[in-house]
Symmetry: C2
Subunit: 150 residues, 2 copies
DNA sequence: ATATGTGCAAATTCTTTGCATTAGA
DNA sequence: TCTAATGCAAAGAATTTGCACATAT
């Protein structure tokens, strides 16, 4: 069962998490969660906002919603080395990594993860609540043909 | 031989790279490289600027120098999930990863790296010039005692 | 000598905040 | 009903750009 692709169970689970945290299940939060669950992402704030049916909510609300959703672990922030942040659904459960093209910034998902074992090493250094981020960068096949791909 | 700590060879090597790229060896570029080599970093733009003897150069110049140094691979950009970018010396040669405290943002260096093998997998997908970033996050021993560390 | 790099100022973009209003539990 | 969330406007940061001047080669 792949982590992404339409999955109503994910949505219901998310609502549960919101309820448990005593957060309100508002229109903007639902819309954002649906987009993050159904389209793969990760998306920047603007991309997310643009994808909502226009007038759905203010950009500021997207900022605030994502901050809250990140706090309760429903959303994960990705940083791909270009200075901007992108967001995708899922905390620990939907664990995976990415391959980012250094030219066109296209993002592919990589389901493999051999890094969990290393977290023990970090815990041994006295850290708690340990997580990690692993991203790969490269030039994709299509960009390789571009003149810029010196 | 650890990757950091005063190392004149690093500095000379950096100058060589600049020359090879036909970039000028200016005061600001030298100052920035020295700081990045001698103090461990990684540093944000402001931190770096503040560390230079005052009046040494403009903040804008720090921005421009780091962009250039990143282009030629002398500097690596680190993003630790808080939206800001930090910079440290070294490309592939000075390869290592970090542990970042989720509360105080303190950064520790981790010299171990078991991920290089995974890069083949990415190359097999058609990517070239493959690199990766691996960061660990957790709450450090000191922060653990803070009330915020719920 | 001359092309590159820098300083300063200003534009642009990104993100956050205050407060009146609305909507969810 | 009553608190939490949103919209709008505006403030505040962070980053980029233009152009005249300075400086490495």
């Amino acid at each position: 069962m792949s982590a992404h692709h339409h999955h109503p169970a994910d949505f219901d689970h998310a609502l549960g998490v919101l309820r448990k945290s005593r957060l309100k299940i508002t229109q903007p939060r639902q819309a954002i969660l649906k987009i993050l669950i159904e389209e793969h992402g990760p998306f920047t704030m603007e991309e997310l906002h643009r994808r909502m049916k226009k007038g759905a909510c203010d950009l500021v609300t997207v900022y605030r919603c994502l901050a809250t959703l990140e706090d309760v672990g429903l959303v994960r922030r990705c940083e791909f080395g270009d200075g901007s942040s992108r967001y995708e659904f899922g905390g620990r459960e939907h664990h995976h990594h990415h391959i980012v093209c250094k030219l066109c910034r296209k993002v592919e998902t990589l389901d493999i993860c051999l890094v969990e074992g290393l977290e023990r090493l970090v815990r041994d250094k006295g850290y708690t609540q340990v997580t990690h981020a692993l991203e790969f960068f490269g030039i994709c096949a299509r960009c390789r043909k571009l003149p810029a791909a010196a």
